[in-house]
Every structure is written in structure tokens, then in C-alpha cells.
Amino acid sequence: MKFWRRLKSDKLAVISLGVIILVVLLAVLGPSLAPYDPYEKRLVPLPLAPGKEHLLGTDEHGVDILSKILYGARISLGIGLGATAIALFVGLMVGVVAGYFGGWVDGLLCRIIDLVMAFPSLLLIILIAAVMERGLLAVFLALGLVSWAGIARIMRGLALGLKEREFAESALASGSGHLRIIFRHIVPNSLSTLLVIFTMRLGGMILAEASLNFLGLGAGRDSPSWGAMVRFGKDWLVTAPWVSLAPATAIALTVLSFNLFGDGLRDALTPRMRAS
């Protein structure tokens, strides 16, 4: 297949895919691989330095950083995937309905999209997170409910073009209902674009999730969430830099891999999007 050949020729994309697979495996197997219990505290005078006992050292409560990071992979990936899926679903629905039906529906939905996009997204996310009880659920919903607008705009443009194509027109002529045309013809033809958007947004979403937890709007002190680990670890930057730098590097590496793989996937799957 042309697609695989194109993807395989992109060395960076292949390496990033490897890292992504590794992170996913860690997220799935994490708890059984982790050498220690990430919630178990021990009395230590200071965070223990990385060594044979603890590969990445411990925090000030004697909790093994590596184990915490392994457990945290689930949170990062889970919230990233979930929030991206919500954003993608809402964006797809709003965009396709706007583009397909046109007229006043399109006008109204476009104004709403404009309105949401007129605000800095972090502002909206912070406002939503501020209203809800602090926790991972707030982070998850805030991220998902804010990021759909950009996706809706892309999907609207796509639907606008697709409904003029022969297959959609002939389906309409042969008496198919609008819903059937949308789900049978418009949505399936948007799948490759959706996949690219999904991969490219995922990195940003994981980053946003980590940022919110870093700011203290999500998980608490004992949570293995990577962002929260950096938040509480940064007090130890002088004496025990590993407490904050290890989880921060895990975030950076994961986000980098998703972004690079997203770029590669876009180039391989939708060569026309490359120009933009």
C-alpha cells in the first residue's frame, strides 16, 4: 500500500510510533511493571537520588518516581484520548450538520463556532475547571468541551465539499434521507481527515491536561498524574531535580512523539493537507 510506504519512509514518524506504542504498553501494563506501590509512603529524610534501588529516585515521601510515572501514563493517555474523542465527536457533528444543511443552520452554528474561538481556550478551560469540583473529571470535561470548535470548522468545510459530490447527490436523488447520507457518505469520507486531526490533537490535549494538573486545577498531591507530579516536585528543584524533571520529561517525550507521528500521518494520508 502506498500509504504504508509513504509512512515508513518518514524515519521520525516511525520512531515516534515506536515511542507511542511503548507509552501505550506502559499505560496498559504499568501497574504490573511498576517495582513499587506509587501510593505507599515511607519515611525518608530527603528525596532519594536515582540509583539501583530506585531507577528514577523517590520523592520527599519516599514514593518511587518510576512507579508513579508508570501509573500516571494511564491518566495522561486516558484523559488525552477521552477529551480528544469528545472534542472530535462534537466537532464532527456540529461541523457536518452546518456544512450539510447550510442556510440559517449553518449561519447560526458558524456564529457559535466564531464565538467559542474568539476566546483564548485556556481561559474557557480555567473557567470551567474553576466552577467544577477540582479533580480529573473537571480537567477531562473542560478540555473536551472547549476544543471542538476548531475541529467543527474543518469538518464544515469538508462536508460542504462532499455534499456536492456525485455519490451524495445520487443518494439524495434516489430518495435517501439526510441522516442516511450524512452517516453513510459524508462521515465515512471524512475518516482519514478525522484520523489525522485526532492524532495531531492528541499531543496538544495531553500537554493541556498536564498543564492544568501542573496549575493545580486537577489532581491532588498523591496522584500519579504527571502534571501534578511536576507541580509538587518543583519545590525540590535544587536538592532533588529528578522529582520534577523526570515526569516533565515523560510529558515532553510523549507529546513530541504524538506531534511527530501526527505530522507523518498527515503527510502520508492526506498529501494535499501538507501545503497548509
Binding site: 474568539a118 483564548p120 481556550s121 481561559l123 498543564s211 501542573f214 535544587v238 520534577s244 524533571l245 507529546v255
Partner: protein, 313 residues
Amino acid sequence: MVSYILRRLFFSAITVFFLLLVTFLLMHMAPGSPVDDILGDKGGRAEDRARLAHEAGLDRPLVVQFATYIYNFGRGDMGTIFATGQKVSEEIKARLPNTAKLALLAMLLASLIGIGAGLCASKWQGSWIDKLARGLTVLAISSPIFWFGLILIFIFAYRLEVLPPGGSGGGSFRYLILPALTLGLRPAAFIARVTRANMLDVLCEDYILTARAKGLSESRVILKHALRNILVPVVTIIGMDLGNLLGGTVITEVVFSFKGIGKFAIDAILNRWYEAIMAVALLWGIIFIAANLIVDLFYGVLDPRIRIETRLR
């Protein structure tokens, strides 16, 4: 052009109104109330609770509360933090200049680094310089702001001990360098990317060929004739990334314990200072909307072609 400006102004005004409304309603729905903050959850005698609620104006109809809020905000009175007695407007007045300095210096550094790197990458397209620049841009776009900030603090404040690890030092330059670098990293990467792509396009244009044929020196061709043409895309990128920049100031200020608006916003949220949250959200929204408006209008000044096209429309 005038009708275009008026239309943009009208839409901006509507956006600001919705921002007011959404902020107000969200804060109204939020769990916990200022009364709870003072008397404890559901604590205190019923009449004390009622008196405090009355003092805060919480017992009036929602529409009245909303109208009062807009009226007061318009007069520059953003309310008082109920729990501490601080005036929100005073706090913002003290912090806004710090954040503004930080953001401006960050954008300045980002533009210098970004345009410089983009120019080098396009000049030596395909060479190791180009590849290095591309690798660094991807890395910069993907790195969490706090990761880069912590590494800078670790190296420059603790290992080399040349710059302060945090605080705002009354807004003095030494305290701004590391935060501005941290904040400017992402926009620098975007600007480098756009500069490179646009330079490669522009260098193929006829007028560049003409300029070279006239015997102008290479530096003159690039700086005088080519660079002018990448200003519009660069300003566009800065404008488009503005929302991220605002978000970035929040994270940067928290990393460096910098006394700015972003740190204040987070303190306000963590302590549920509703007046402060609303004021900051509103202020941000207005700055963001106004800046977008200015960037749009700025195009007309930078590129006469856009001005004429809008007039024809």
C-alpha cells in the same frame, strides 16, 4: 475599510457581552459561596448568613446582580475579594504592568530568534543548519512550558547562579529574562517555521531576481526586499498564537512565582475568589479580543494589497 472596521467592532462588542454573561453565570453556578468561606460550609447562624449574603448582594435578583456587575466594571470597580478585603482593581493595577512587560519581552525575543532561525534555515535550505532548526522547532512546539522553564531555572539559577530562580523583583530586567525566554520559546518556533516557508516562496519571486540583477548585495536583497514580505505572515502567526501566549503567561508565572495577572488568576481559582476570577477572565477576554482586532487592522497597514481587497469587497 470603515464598514469593515465597524463590523469587526460590532462583533467584538457582542463577544465581550457574551464573555461577561458566561463568566457571570459560570461563577454563579460554582460550588461554595463567599458566605461559606467566612462562616465555614453551612456554618454560622441563619441570620448571620443572611446578613453576609445581603452585604455581598447575593440576595438580589440575578439580572440585577449582573447589571450591577457590568455597571461597576465599567467604572473600573471590580469588587473586593470577600475573604481578604483586597480590592481586585488595585491588585490588577499592580500586576498588569509585570505581565505586560513579560509578554512583550517574550514576543520580542521570539521574533528575533524566530526570524533569525527562519532566515538561516531558508538561506541554507537542506543543510545541517536547516535540519537542526527544524528539529529544534518541533522540540520547542512539543515541550511543555513548565519543562523548559524548570530546566532554565535549574541551569541558570542553580548551576550557574547568574540569574534569579523566580520572583518578579519589582519588574526589573534580570527577573524577566528567564520567564520571557520560557514564554517566547513556542512562538519563536512558530515564527521560525513561517519565516522559513515564506522566505523560500519569496526568494523565487521576480522582484528578488530583479533586485539581484541590479547588483544589490545579498544582505540588502534579503533584508530590504525579502524580509518585508514575510512581515504579514509573521504578524498573523503572532496574532493567531495570542491565546496560547495568554495561557503561557499563566504557566510561566506559576513556574517562576512571578507577580503577574496569571499567577493571580490561579490563586483566585484555587481560593475561590469569585470577584477576582471574573475580573481577570473579563480582562483577558477583552485584551484578547482587542488584540485580534488590532492584528486584523494592522494587516491593512502592512500590506496595501489587503487594504485594497477589503475596499473592493
